[in-house]
């Protein structure tokens, strides 16, 4: 099941390899079919998922089977290096409450990304091969339970992303692509070191061998007391936690490692922005929840305050930077930074409300930000500009577009009744309930205000009022005496066309539905998060 959902896009990529590059439509349809098949598998996983199993650590008897679901475990690379040393790398996949929502999100965003890629005209074959590779790698990261396998998928994401931005991006694409690549690589180098250190510190309770299994690593009883990252080696455990955290924080992106994000978003084509904001950023916080925190719970407990402060900086700093933007897409990029700050804050709370909120926020940010980038893409396709002050009054001429923008913008500013509100509310509830992060939560609520400020202000400047004198569109009085809008060289439908609606309407429906009734998602994650909180709470406090 999990192998299928991971490798479906790669299979599609292989098929595309055999299709001549002139057959653009076939290439697109093959990719779409793969994405839809992925979606079907994701739905099957969702329906078959048993929310009572907690995950995070092994079930009774040290086996992951009693705790994780859809487990696939095969020896992959087993090298006997003579003497004590041996390398036991496993092909180990499995799902718990933390990853199952991310799988569904990934499948959803990947499918929408394919639809959004329909308008890509340059080197279609190469684009979709890379796109499918990226889709597989992302999915792989979320289901891998072997640290080595996780690392392979993690690095595998980088390559297609680099080319997708570097070839199909905007004018400054090469700078953005290399910045993204090097930044992420910088983080993953340290991850590699920590991974090797962990390998030599942990024994699989069943086989007695060293292991890369994250499930084994999440149980402190499996650590060798005096090993490099064993419980006695306090200093190295702190260092390992810190470098691992930086590696994931770059992906989130957390202040001050965030500057690659606006550049990457501004240069990336719309579907890649959607994937980047919708899924890739979540890998940072997912990595924290899956690897960084449960493997070093005592260090996490000592760092909650610092993580919370960085969360608050992300929230407020991101909101202020968004307020200063002239480019709509850059504003959305900074809003992502701000919203990922809520995730960090929720994680820093270290209690169930905060962590559930953080995980739910990851899901909701995925859907809402995907919507925001798609909507920015719509106007960029038509007007070839994203400058906020180059429009004005669009609501009169593109009513459907304006309506969906309003829903998306309000979802982003955390309006109750839309999904983003519940996750932000839970984050604040958690952060305020924890005495450690209470003062941080009290400052962070300002993010709610400034979030509303930049979103409403941009909404007003682009959609309300009248056409600006130097707007990027023209008005013509038609035969019926009404004014009609006209974009310079846009031949398509002025308001949203069928393809754009197909991408946006499901996201709108999800956003509204999960804002009114969040349990379909929350129900899957609560038992895992409660287990995670239990793992993270030091014995003394427990």
């Amino acid at each position: 099941m999990l192998s299928l959902i991971v490798f479906l896009p790669i299979i599609a990529g292989l098929i595309i390899l055999a299709v001549p590059s002139s057959q653009k439509q076939i290439i697109r349809i093959v990719s779409l079919l793969a994405a839809l098949a992925q979606g079907v598998v994701a739905i099957l996983i969702w329906r078959a998922y048993d929310p009572s199993l907690p995950g995070i650590t092994a079930g009774p008897g040290g086996s992951p089977l009693g705790s994780f679901q859809f487990v696939e475990k095969l020896p992959w690379i087993g090298l006997k290096l003579g003497g004590m040393a041996s390398l036991n790398i496993e092909y180990f996949l499995g799902v718990d409450g933390i990853s199952v929502t991310m799988i569904i999100l990934t499948a959803l965003v990947s499918a929408i990304g394919v639809l959004s890629s329909w308008t890509i005209q340059k080197q279609v074959k190469g684009y979709f091969i890379l796109y499918n590779l990226l889709a597989s790698a992302m999915m792989g990261c979320f289901v891998a339970l072997d640290f080595f396998l996780f690392y392979v998928f993690w690095e595998l994401m980088l390559l297609p992303m680099y080319f997708l931005i570097g070839i199909w991006g905007g004018p400054n694409r090469e700078y953005a692509a290399i910045k993204f690549f090097l930044y992420t690589l910088f983080g993953s180098v340290f991850m590699l070191l920590v991974m090797i250190g962990l390998y030599f510190s942990v024994l699989d309770p069943v086989t007695g061998n060293h292991t890369f299994s994250l499930v084994a690593m999440a149980n402190q009883a499996n650590y060798i007391q005096d090993a490099i990252l064993g419980p006695h080696n306090v200093m190295w455990r702190y260092i390992a936690f810190a470098v691992l955290f930086i590696g994931f924080a770059i992906k989130v992106p957390m202040f001050p490692f965030h500057t690659w994000l606006p550049d990457a978003h501004v240069e990336a084509p719309t579907p890649i922005s959607v994937i980047l904001a919708g899924v890739l950023l979540k890998l940072g916080t997912y990595g924290m929840m899956r690897i960084n925190f449960p493997l070093f719970p005592e260090v996490f407990h000592a760092s909650m305050y610092i993580i919370g402060i960085f969360g608050a900086i992300n929230i407020i700093y991101g909101a202020f930077c968004a307020l200063a933007q002239q480019d709509l897409k850059k504003m959305v990029a900074y809003s992502s930074i701000s919203h990922m700050g809520y995730v960090l804050l929720g994680l820093a709370a270290g209690n169930s409300e905060g962590m559930v909120g953080a995980l739910y926020q990851m899901f909701n940010h995925g859907t809402i930000t995907a919507m925001l980038f798609l909507l920015v893409g719509v106007i960029y396709d038509r007007a070839h500009t994203r400058q906020i002050d180059k429009f004005g009054g669009l609501a009169s001429y593109m009513p459907v577009y304006a309506a969906i923008v309003t829903v998306a913008w309000f979802a982003s500013l955390g309006l109750p009744g839309l999904s983003g509100f519940i996750s932000e509310a839970l984050v604040f509830v958690g952060a305020f309930s924890s005495i450690t992060t209470r003062p941080i939560a009290m400052v962070s609520v300002l993010g709610i205000l400034f979030g509303a400020a930049y979103l409403l202000w941009s909404l007003q400047r682009v959609f309300l009022g009248k056409r600006k004198p130097d707007a990027a569109y023209d008005l013509e009085v038609g035969a019926d005496g009404h004014e009609h809008i006209h974009f310079h060289d846009w031949k398509g439908k002025i308001d949203l066309d069928a393809r754009e609606l197909t991408m946006l309407v499901p996201l709108v429906v999800i956003t509204i539905f999960l804002g009114i009734y969040p349990m379909p998602v929350l129900g899957m994650i609560t038992s895992s998060v409660n287990k995670l909180v239990e793992v993270l709470t030091p014995l003394a406090i427990r």
């Binding site: 001050p256 965030h258 200063a324 209690n351 409300e353 309000f410 609520v445 509303a452 409403l456 609560t526």
Partner: protein, 739 residues
């Protein structure tokens, strides 16, 4: 589930249904589906009226309460807490029943009125959809049994308000106003949210009933100051929504919305939600928090009244009057006159809705002229509007025989009682401001009535270009974008706009609420709405940090006895009992003073505007700074613009500069350093490492080239070299022998 709960759920969901139908299908329905909105609201009102009848008329029990809830979010078995759920629920008590009937009635009347007022607008159907979602959200606030759902609906009414203020969004002023309203409300909401968080962090529940039970049991683990803070933070929500100082600035601008919306949202219901909310949390407010609330209310009432006296826009006068009256309600809650404040909420809702709808009728008839300076003489043209408007004005000014008289008097009596209980001094500021504002109210309403309805039409006095621009500003309103001059064809409005006026005016008369026109306390309202017993007093006495004034008070038992003799409510808390007692004693004092103040105000208005003994323009010149201060609304907008708004924008630019140049500068700097190191490394490699290699090769090469010259291949050369070497050896050998 109680049948009333089931009915209330139907009432709650009906307007949402109206919204869903109209937002998607209004263009496919005849008349853009306005009958759907009116019909659905009519049904909702009928059911609400039945609930009202059952609860208030049939049951007639001050303690009536039914509640129901369901689990909305289940967080499972949370470590350290145990099973944790977030519940949503509905509570129906007397206050809910009254509010339900009031909200649905006014909403129904506004729907009906709008079928006339908004006819012909290009977004006519959408307008009714927005009214639907507003009514839904407002009913949600009224029915909520917990802080979380009240916060949800709180923000949703903010959204509906945003959408309706900006209904004519092509106008920049409307787009500015809607943004301002939402953001000002958000400031209040942040405080409210923090207050909710304080309470949640203590009890892990949002439910009013559970929080109060825990508080009463003294389970609040934080210090007393935190409880005061929680109360004041929750009150911030009211400051935003009910437009109290210092967040009152959005409400006058909100008049950019269609006038029926101003009546429904920005006068009768939504802005009163803040007061309603404070009533819901009344029992957890500490005396310190209540003092702050009382002062804010009194100051707001006074400040807004001083602004209202100089405004020229008919709607702005009413808007500031609304702010002022909301100040009265907040003042009333602050001084502990709980039932009086809520009584004023209801009476104000009806007469202010009547005034706004009346002003809408005037604006409609005057072809979107809103400036009172160019009106006049409308009494003859619009008799119905004149009659209803005047009746509502009398209620607002607080003249006897009206509803407003009873409720305002009860608040002012409470204020006097409060000042007496607190031992006078600065606390007398509150009743003094209250009475003074009552005079100002009578004055500005007298001015408005005179300017609009009496005298001769002044339409022709309007400067031409001003007229022109005003006409264009309202160009969005297609139906009336014609070239009529305002003085042509002023006529009474049609029945669907007239009927709401008559109904609302009828609800502004005393006998609806009380058989005795001088005493609201004898009426059903104040008998059904009783001050709830505070839950902080027991906590305070347990902690031993009671309010200083408590020491001088008679014991709780004595006060309770006194109250029960009169068949009144008994209080567990001595402070509340004393307040009730002194307020009652101050009842007639309040009537006398307020009547005098109202008569003074009306007389002054008459002196200035009717008999023109004092020329208003000349007076304005004499006290020009004060006049400008009032006309420019105490310059709050300018102050906020110069500080918070410009400050935020400046900060955002600075932070973005920091981001681009410092943070990204460091990243790019790091990249540059790496590149330079790489270049240096390259140079080292090229010149030093490779240089050494090349130098070795070079030296070997050079040596070879030199030595090569020796190897000539000629025997003669070798013999000469051999001889030279041998000779040299001998020279060396013998010189050593000699020395």
């Amino acid at each position: 589930m109680h049948s009333l709960i089931q009915l209330s759920i139907v009432v709650l969901l009906l307007p949402l249904l109206s919204f869903v139908i109209l937002i998607f299908f209004n263009r496919r329905l005849p008349r853009r589906g306005d009958f759907v909105g009116v019909g659905i609201l009519g049904t909702a009102f009928a059911i609400s009226a039945y609930i009202f009848w059952t609860v208030i008329v049939q049951t007639y029990d001050p303690a009536f309460r039914v509640a129901w809830n369901f689990t909305w979010i289940d967080l499972g078995n949370v470590p350290g807490i145990g099973p944790l759920t977030i519940k949503m629920g509905i509570v129906i008590d007397n206050l809910t029943a009254i509010m339900l009937a009031m909200v649905t009635l006014i909403s129904l009347l506004v729907h009906l009125y709008s079928t006339g007022y908004m006819a012909g607008d290009k977004n006519y159907g959408r307008y009714f959809a927005f009214l639907g979602i507003f009514t839904f959200s407002m009913l949600g606030i009224v029915l909520s049994d917990n802080l979380f759902s009240i916060y949800i609906f709180w923000e949703l009414v903010g959204l509906s308000s945003y959408l309706l203020i900006g209904f004519f969004f092509e106008k920049d002023s409307a787009a500015d106003a809607q943004k301002k309203a939402f953001l000002a409300n958000r400031v209040g909401d942040i405080g409210m949210w923090l207050g909710i968080l304080i309470l949640y962090s203590q009890f892990h529940t949002f439910s009013f009933a559970e929080i109060y039970a825990n508080l009463a049991a003294g389970k609040f683990a934080m210090s007393n100051a935190w409880l005061t803070a929680a109360g004041l933070l929750l009150f911030m929500g009211c400051v935003g929504k009910s437009a109290q100082f210092p967040l009152h600035i959005w409400l006058p601008d909100a008049m950019e919305g269609p006038t029926p919306v101003s009546a429904l949202i920005h006068a009768a219901t939504m802005v009163a939600a803040g007061v309603y909310f404070v009533a819901r949390i009344f029992v957890l407010l500490t005396p310190d928090a209540l003092h702050v609330i009382a002062f804010i209310g009194a100051f707001t009432a006074f400040m807004a009244a001083t602004i209202a006296i100089t405004q020229n826009d008919i709607k702005r006068v009413l808007a500031y009057s609304t702010v002022s009256q909301l100040g009265y309600m907040v003042l009333g809650l602050g001084v502990g006159a709980y039932s009086a404040a809520l009584f004023h909420l209801v009476t104000h809702a009806f007469f202010k809705a009547c005034l706004f709808l009346g002003s809408g009728a005037i604006i409609h008839a005057m072809h979107h002229e809103q400036d009172m300076r160019w009106m006049g003489g409308l009494r003859k043209h619009m008799p119905w509007t004149f009659a209803t408007f005047t009746l509502a004005t009398l209620a607002l000014a607080g003249l006897p025989l009206t509803s407003g008289f009873m409720s305002k008097d009860a608040i002012l009596a409470g204020a006097i009682g409060f000042a007496n209980v607190e031992g006078g001094g600065v606390y007398y500021i509150i009743p003094v401001l209250g009475f003074f504002s009552a005079m100002l109210t009578a004055f500005y309403m007298g001015r408005q009535i005179w300017l609009v309805f009496f005298g001769e039409s002044r339409t022709h006095l309007k400067p031409a270009d001003d007229h022109h621009s005003a006409h264009h500003a309202h160009g969005a309103h297609d139906a009336h974008n014609d070239d009529h001059h305002a003085d042509h064809g002023v006529h009474e409005v049609s029945w669907n706009m007239r009927a709401p006026l008559v109904i609302l005016a009828a609800l502004s008369v005393f006998f609806v609420y009380s058989p005795n026109p001088l005493d609201g306390a004898q009426g059903w309202f104040m008998k059904m709405i009783k001050t709830p017993a505070t839950v902080v007093a027991s906590y305070q006495s347990a902690v031993g940090s009671g309010h200083s004034a408590l020491k001088e008070l008679p014991s709780a038992e004595a006060a309770g006895e006194h109250a029960s003799e009169k068949g009144e409510h008994t209080f567990a808390d001595p402070r509340q009992a004393e307040l009730a007692h002194t307020s009652h004693a101050a009842h007639y004092t309040a009537i006398y003073i307020s009547s005098i103040m109202v008569i003074l105000g009306i007389t002054l208005a008459g002196v200035v505007f009717v008999f023109k003994i004092i020329d208003p323009d000349k007076t304005a010149e004499t006290i020009r700074p004060l006049y400008l201060f009032s006309l420019n609304k105490w310059y709050w907008d300018e102050i906020y613009q110069a500080t918070f708004i410009r400050g935020s924008l400046l900060l955002s630019k600075m932070l973005y500069w920091f981001d681009r140049n410092i943070i990204d500068g460091m990243v790019n700097g790091a990249a540059l350093i790496v590149r330079n190191v790489a270049f240096a490394n390259n140079s080292f490699d090229k010149y030093v490492v490779d240089g050494l290699v090349n130098f070795t090769a070079f030296s070997v090469n050079t040596t070879g080239a030199v030595l090569r010259k020796l190897q000539t291949g000629k025997v003669q050369t070798y013999v000469v070299m051999l001889l030279a070497v041998v000779f040299g050896y001998f020279v060396f050998y013998f010189t050593r022998l000699i020395y």
